[in-house]
Amino acid sequence: MRATDLLAHHVRTADGRSLGRVSEFRVVQDGPLVAGVQNAFRIDQLLVGRGGLASRLGYIRGRISGPWLIAAVFRGLERRTNLVDVDDIDRWDDDQLLIVLKPGARLDHPA
């Protein structure tokens, strides 16, 4: 699947609440060695909700702090974004572009 496809999936909790679309995902380079060269890049977290532009620009996670006004606008959006652990994914529905989470999945906000 392409990143484009992954970013088109909607995410729903086990009890049916819609969290929005996957807007970004985080990758950690701690997978098994590939071709003896480098570790594989494992996806460990999905950002779901409205933080797409904010994270693409770099305002989520406080990577960029200025200008003040723009950062403040995007910080407001952080509250409407959820962080989902990939381990909390119950099932994928690739026809409907839907990801359903396990019950009791922990939802964080990007701090």
Binding site: L57, G66, P67, I70
Partner: protein, 409 residues
């Protein structure tokens, strides 16, 4: 001497941006119609372009990423594509007008119909684009553009009441016979002319072409703090000349050929020759900027190798796009369409591109991964954000104003 030549990029960017055919006519027309009541827009625009050009030059020097690269990277491929289409057409329309402007400048000296000279002008532009090294191009046309200082000489020779000029410039009103809408329309036209996106495309790509690095941040500042105010001074001089000579005679400026009239009357034939040389250099410089920018925006969006410093055999697609846009510009120009009208339409498209172009620059200039320790200070951020808000307002207001005033009639 090298230090002096080092500001050539800024000077050329300014000349091609501030006193291209559209601005030459707009500044002259504004001076003739509104006297000095719109003079404040020029320094206001100069400050805006200084701020954003410095940021884009800084980013280009520190990580070799020019503006259009960043537009796609930070706004995504879809907004990037929208900006690409708008910017490409602005460049194309402007290029058409500039090549016509070069032809008009030559026709003022030779009395040949300018339409016949268009292909000749286009070939000249193309030869310079493909073969003249970037730094020589900067220096030659930057220097030649200084001939426009004859407008400053003309103002001085007319010997106006400086106190009166100053008071008129600092107490702007909407003059009789004009409405707030036409006032706002011309204010936006002048402001948009100062901050046309191709100025930063050219300046930041030029910084990469000139191989600027962290050691050149001072040179970056010199370029923007000298080059763009110089462009502003030339703009104002043209406006003042028109207000002193043409306004009292109720002469309306609509053609490039009318722009040097005040110089002819105040300084005589030698002055006129300088003015025409300056106009030739300015329109030629703008033609170079816009044809190269056509290549820059397409190549940078799609990730192709780009740059004048690559010969055409090394960055083939880039050079082909540059050549193709010159060819299309010539074909449009040969239809005899009025080049000044063409630039007016490009203003409308500019409105869409302005915020989308400048917003990513402001963001990146705050991102340590691109500019390391040279992020924006708080004061700069505050002023830059203010200008961004103004740009958004300008973008929103342009089309309604164009409709209400019927194109500034």
């Amino acid at each position: 001497m090298k230090k002096v030549l080092g500001i050539a990029l800024g000077v050329l960017s300014a000349i091609g941006g501030f006193v291209d055919i559209g601005d030459l006519v707009a500044n002259s027309a504004t001076g003739a119609r509104f006297d000095l009541n719109l003079a404040w827009v020029v320094p206001f625009g100069v400050i805006g372009i200084i701020i954003y050009a410095e940021m884009s030059g800084r980013v280009a020097a520190l990580c070799q990423r020019p503006v259009f690269d960043l537009v796609r990277e930070r706004l995504g491929p879809r907004f990037g594509a929208g900006n690409l289409v708008a910017s490409f057409f602005i460049n194309l329309l402007t290029l058409t007008a500039e090549i016509a402007g070069v032809a008009i400048a030559v026709s003022l000296l030779t009395s040949v119909n300018y339409v016949l000279l268009i292909p000749f002008a286009a070939v000249l532009v193309w030869v310079v684009c493909w073969r003249l090294p970037f730094n020589i191009m900067e220096q030659v046309f930057g220097l030649m553009g200084m001939a426009l200082l004859v407008f400053v000489v003309a103002v001085w020779k007319i010997g106006p009441d400086w106190g009166d000029l100053a008071s008129k410039a600092t107490h702007p009103t909407v003059p009789n016979g004009e409405t707030p809408f036409t006032y706002a329309y011309y204010a936006i036209a002048l402001f948009g002319a100062a901050m046309t996106p191709y100025e930063v495309f050219f300046f930041s790509s030029g910084a990469v072409e000139d191989r600027w690095s962290a050691a050149d941040l001072g040179e970056n500042k010199a370029n923007v703090f000298i080059g763009f105010p110089l462009g502003g001074v030339l703009s104002l001089a043209i406006m003042v000349c028109a207000s002193l000579v043409l306004a009292p005679r109720a002469i309306d400026v609509a053609q490039l050929s009318q722009v040097p009239l005040p110089v002819a009357s105040a300084v005589g034939r030698v002055g006129l020759a300088f003015a025409i040389l300056g106009i030739f250099a300015a329109t030629f410089g703008a033609a170079l900027e816009t044809s190269l920018s056509s290549g820059y925006v397409v190549a940078q969006y799609l990730g192709w190798p780009w740059g004048k410093y690559h010969p055409p055999t090394r960055a083939s697609r880039f050079h082909v796009v540059v050549l193709a846009s010159i060819v299309v510009a010539v074909l449009i120009g040969l239809t005899g369409v009025d080049p000044v009208k063409v630039t007016e339409y490009s203003i409308v498209l500019s409105a869409a591109a302005l915020p989308l172009t400048y917003f990513p620059i402001l963001v990146i200039a705050n991102d340590r991964r691109y500019v390391q320790d040279h992020t924006n200070g708080r004061f700069l951020n505050a002023v830059a954000t203010l200008y961004l808000i103004v740009l958004v307002l300008v973008a929103v207001a342009t089309i309604p104003l164009m409709i209400i005033t019927k194109g500034g009639a």
